[in-house]
């Protein structure tokens, strides 16, 4: 049984002091239900998660207590992707016909601070100042630039494009374009990455209604089909965040593994994808993830990005809603935001940030600590 997305809802990303994270999730859920033309009582199951804003199951207090199985998902940055994969399997298996996936969050200002014990690490690792996701991404792109000839100008171009797209997206947080030169010259955070090259923890909520593909048209004139939803964790030898040591011999990371599996499951290849949302917690991540997801060879990003290929009108539009850089990262909601954006794109409803040419296939990818990746492929 194939699976379709028939309803989508979003609470704008950024900072909303008047609403809790849970309330932002409830706003998104109500919008998704309305979009699908169904009531909460029609929903047979739900998966949801947040990292800092409480149990997603508490959405029942907002939406109504209907007795359905509601499973809380906690999987770091891949929380949304994990919820979606779980819902996909619940429908694909035939266990349920229609369900809801929700993700929301509300984080404090400033960089994330992780507890070493929660990741199986000694307290010393945090005490010495090594347990910073920002450091990992900086060190990964530093090595990547050395190995594949990516320039600092290209790092700035990625962020510049994100803010251009964010300005076109009414639900984005950062809605002012920032010139590449200003990005490159902004405060250095973790060399070679400056302040504007990093996303910030933020707030927001996203919900999706999924159902059996054969019933989708009954609810929705423009259903979008979930051709694959894959989650992978790291194998020994991949270079990952929160790692006091790493292997001398490197192997492909979870993004490469998840991407290959997702393409195989969907029966399509990278060249078939019309629009992609790739994890861009900082601008180096987007560059590396282009190759890790199979969209180019290592090093080709330099020319692709400098020539504008990843802009909305380019040959491979990436992060058309502004990505994490312009939306910030509410951990529980971030991966589902990518799916929301692709559904808009495939429906042709993305407005000012619509990719031209009637896109047919959309791709999403998230990466998270301590080395997990979730990928989806959507088709209209």
């Amino acid at each position: 049984m194939d699976v379709a997305i028939i309803g989508i809802g979003i609470h704008p990303f950024g900072r909303t002091p008047a609403r809790t994270g849970l309330q932002q999730g409830a706003v998104a859920a109500r919008l998704a239900l309305k979009d699908a033309g169904v009531e909460w009582r029609d929903i047979e199951f739900a998966f949801g998660g947040s990292a800092s804003a409480g149990n997603a199951d508490a959405l029942g207090n907002e939406l109504g207590l209907t007795g359905i199985p509601f499973i809380n998902v906690a999987n770091g940055c891949a929380t949304g992707g994990s919820s979606l994969m779980s819902a996909y399997n619940a429908i694909k298996s035939g266990a349920h016909d229609i369900g809801l996936v929700a993700g929301f969050d509300k984080h404090d200002r400033g960089a994330f601070n992780a507890d070493p014990a929660a990741w199986g690490l000694g307290q010393w690792y945090g005490e010495l100042g090594l347990m910073m996701t920002t450091q990992f991404f900086a060190m990964k792109i530093q090595r990547y630039m050395h190995d594949y000839g990516i320039s600092e100008s290209t790092l700035a171009k990625v962020a510049e494009k994100a803010f251009i797209n964010g300005a076109l997206n009414p639900n984005a947080w950062r809605r002012q374009p920032v010139a590449a030169e200003e990005i490159a010259n902004s405060t250095m955070v973790s060399n070679p990455l400056t302040k504007y090259m990093f996303c910030s923890p933020s707030e927001g909520g996203v919900a999706l209604v999924l159902c059996r593909a054969d019933k989708a048209k009954a609810y929705c004139a423009k259903p979008v089909y979930l051709k694959s939803a894959v989650l992978k964790s790291r194998r020994y030898g991949s270079f990952e965040v929160f790692a006091p040591s790493q292997a001398l011999q490197q192997v492909d990371g979870p993004t490469v593994d998840a991407s290959r599996a997702a393409f195989e499951m969907a029966g399509v290849g990278p060249g078939d994808i019309d629009v992609a949302q790739l994890q861009d917690t900082e601008s180096g991540a987007e560059i590396m993830h282009m190759a890790e997801n199979g969209f180019c060879e290592h090093g080709e990003q330099e020319q692709l990005i400098q020539s504008g290929a990843t802009h909305i009108g380019g040959s491979l539009p990436i992060n058309t809603d502004g990505g994490c850089l312009a939306n910030g990262e509410p951990i529980g909601a971030s991966g589902l935001r990518q799916v929301y954006e692709n559904v808009l794109q495939l429906r042709g409803d993305a407005g000012d940030h619509q990719v031209p040419g009637n896109p047919r296939l959309g791709y999403t990818h998230v990466y998270g600590a301590p080395g997990i990746s979730a990928v989806t492929i959507l088709q209209r």
């Binding site: 010495l128 250095m188 973790s190 001398l248």
Partner: protein, 141 residues
């Protein structure tokens, strides 16, 4: 009387004339891991030995942490006294690539491939005068 204490037991030999970081090495597949683990994350083997890692290696990648991390960062610094610090992975031949703080924080003086040595020094001083010893990577002059 104040003492010199390692930041964590079993992380490196201490006290020792020539201290070294400690790794576990899998007796089945030969893979080394830092810090010491009771099993091998490469092959799941549980037969591991503890060994001292080489004290010199090559800088594999690096960055400079420009802002002061939140807790659990525990250096004794305040927002006013915080100084940016280098972080990198040092490739120790025959062992692993170990992540650590660098004694150098000037980006102009750091480059991938440079030789560094592992040094052990006071990380912070506790209110009772005890010195907490950490490990650092220092460019070889």
């Amino acid at each position: 009387m104040s003492q010199q204490l390692p930041i964590a037991e079993g992380l490196f030999t201490w006290p020792a004339k020539q201290p070294a970081l400690l790794a576990s090495r899998c007796n089945s597949c030969g893979i080394a891991s830092f810090p010491v683990a009771e099993s091998c994350m490469a092959c799941s083997g549980q037969d591991v030995s503890v060994e001292a890692l080489p004290t010199r290696g090559i800088l594999w990648t690096w960055t400079v942490q420009q802002f002061m991390p939140k807790a659990p960062y525990h250096s004794g610094e305040t927002a006013e006294t915080f100084r940016p610090y280098g972080v990198g992975y040092l490739e120790l031949p025959g062992g692993v690539r170990v992540e650590g703080r660098l004694t150098e924080s000037d980006p102009q003086k750091l480059r991938i491939g440079m030789e560094m040595e592992v040094v052990f020094d006071t990380w912070r001083t506790e209110p009772n005068g005890d010195e907490i010893i950490g490990f650092f990577f220092k460019p070889v002059a």
